[in-house]
Symmetry: C2
Subunit: 171 residues, 2 copies
Amino acid sequence: MSLRYALLGLLAEEPASGYDLARKFERNLRRYAWHAQHSQIYPELNRLAADGLAAVVEEGPRGRRTYAITDTGRAELRRWVLDPNDDPVVRNEHTLRLFLLSTLDVEDARKMLRHQAEGSRLEYERLRAAIDAAGASGRAPVELFASELGARYFQVLHEWALWALDHLDSE
Amino acid sequence: MSLRYALLGLLAEEPASGYDLARKFERNLRRYAWHAQHSQIYPELNRLAADGLAAVVEEGPRGRRTYAITDTGRAELRRWVLDPNDDPVVRNEHTLRLFLLSTLDVEDARKMLRHQAEGSRLEYERLRAAIDAAGASGRAPVELFASELGARYFQVLHEWALWALDHLDSE
DNA sequence: AGGTGACATGACAAAATCTACATGTCAATA
DNA sequence: TATTGACATGTAGATTTTGTCATGTCACCT
């Protein structure tokens, strides 16, 4: 059901079409929250509308349909977000690879950690720049909380990779 | 295919039965790497054996079958772990909820962040204690890399939640 | 006028995952 | 010796997700 709430959450910020939502997933959610493709998004949007949690509010060119969240949808979203879910489902291919690092020999591990350190540094800088830009343009700070968490997460990944490299050397 | 490699990775550390693996998933992987239930693990173990990536090395009481990774399996695991996968699949119900924080009103957000701060603190302390205990008992440091990352991750979650609470107050 | 690329939605089959049901063993303890 | 709980492995149907194919529109550029 998470996809459903991810969509409601994005629609709670502003009305959007399936195409818009697919791009938002790609830009904002894919890397650390939830992955979904358009072939999953469109059918779920139809179900959301059928269930009265979202509604088409505008029809544009090329068959574009803009959806908005309904009051029912907003209530249902709030219920889900506040649900004290202490057993969340986590599936992270990236973390899994890091976890499997210990099955590699030292030279392979070093190679992987270097790649890791570089990748997370880039991602950290990208997010940090995005936050600064958004902050300067007056976006509400609360909307930047998630980005801030993302930035801190990649910073930790980076520091951890360097720490791990260091430990490999001293063994 | 990630489940397959998660299993191979655990078997690369030491031979284990499906039951053992289910517990390892529960204890080590579920919270930040990969979630899987026994109903998925047993069939996949059979496929692993059929494909020659793992093999039954011991039959114990109660139908227990202990599997070990084969050389082919080890090579295949290495190939996958080193694969420069720059588009990993991430699905994290927990992070998704945090992302949707911005759709809540201030009082709800505060409530959620407090719950968050408390939960991540507990998880951090649990992991840190486990690392200390394992370190003292002479486990190879490289096997603790993943735990160290987990601990740092929950530490960041905790600090972020406090930071976010602070920002909410100053708005 | 024709070509290109972003925009826009969808269907469908295959694979992965979940939930629930199903069955039996063995060790400890009351 | 009866009960209980951990050990141990499975199956089946439903749901979710993936990957690919399919189709058409509109704006812009040459």
